[in-house]
Symmetry: C2
Subunit: 209 residues, 2 copies
């Protein structure tokens, strides 16, 4: 695979979408698909699809389209989904709880291997096959059993603190649900899911019509 720098975030997100659609098509027994068909499913244009893919190679056959199966494999490879990732969940509140039970995590190779919380009422409780550990044990635990990804589901006030701690432990990717802007070193990737932001863009859209 070509590994060019600077692929746009929007491109990566679309690739992830295409992958979802291709898996659908695969289940339906389709063997090939045109950029046009893929675009129609995803609400974009065929040129966009072809351009997105062209950053990574040329996977189609002129006059025919793309092999669904082949393209699924290619996209999994490009997105780095050919392996499993070990994930620590920091925070065992409502959202943490919901996420641990979300099948999408494990299904796609994201393996939650530990859960932490400061609330002594939760510590020690079995939780979907895992035991909630005291946040004090974070260093001990993650040294014994390292993870690649941390999901931060703490209150806003606590988020930067635990972020610093997991970064010190070598975590290079963070999925943040706390409603704050995290500061991390350049080599750490953060994705923030910020409910308030989504609601407010909806509000803006409702207002300006």
């Amino acid at each position: 695979m070509l590994r060019m720098r600077k692929i746009a975030e929007s491109t990566v997100r679309r690739l992830s979408l295409y992958l979802r659609f291709l898996e659908e098509f695969e289940e339906q027994g389709m063997e090939t698909v045109s950029s046009e068909a893929l675009a129609a499913r995803g609400g974009t244009t065929s040129a966009q699809v072809r351009k997105d893919l062209s950053f990574f190679g040329s996977f189609g056959k002129r006059g025919l389209g793309y092999s669904v199966g082949e393209l699924v494999l290619k996209l999994r490879d490009i997105l780095g989904l050919g392996r499993t990732y070990r994930v620590a969940m920091i925070g065992a509140g409502k959202i943490g709880s919901a996420l641990v039970q979300y099948r999408g995590f494990r299904n796609r190779g994201f393996d939650i291997v530990s859960i932490f919380d400061t609330d002594q009422a939760k510590v020690g409780k079995g939780w979907n096959g895992l035991v909630v550990k005291d946040l004090k044990e974070l260093e001990t635990e993650l040294r014994r059993s390292p993870v690649e990804i941390a999901v931060i589901v703490t209150p806003g006030e606590a988020a930067q603190g635990v972020t610093d701690r997991v970064v010190a432990l070598g975590v290079k990717a963070i999925l943040n649900f706390a409603p704050i802007q995290l500061t991390v070193p350049d080599d750490v990737v953060v994705k923030t899911v910020n409910l308030a932001l989504e609601l407010e863009t909806l509000s803006y859209a409702l207002t300006n019509r």
Copy 2:
């Protein structure tokens, strides 16, 4: 306020961020703030801040900066946060549950007024001050007590169906947590929060370093 068409989504998201920071500053008793200071807090540049604001007017004083209080009001107005929105939650599963209890909703003027589910074990149960209603009652309920926003927290298979139903009932904004791409008329706004997508962009970033 100037209402120009075509403000970039990225601009609106930043405005929402600025608002959060300004509220922080306000609590700390700051009276004015420079674009530089606001940018530093938000990880962007002062030129970006000034450009974002300039789409809507000119709110600052040269040599001094922006009045924190005034800018808060302006941004709330721009984002349409001067009112409350009525929200229906469709789906009372784990994520729905977590969202209903999320204070950020009500705090920011998003009032959850009804919750629906198909699961008879949930229907009729009290739920954070609300009663879960049978999804069959959706039309009756939303006609009696209309909402502006629907939050969709159903399984993927059910999402398009309920979307069509709420759209038919006049809902113009949807926050979608189901892992699928919803199809709606042009005058309806959809924001999708897609966990799988976020995880896969993290995976991509981890792979390509």
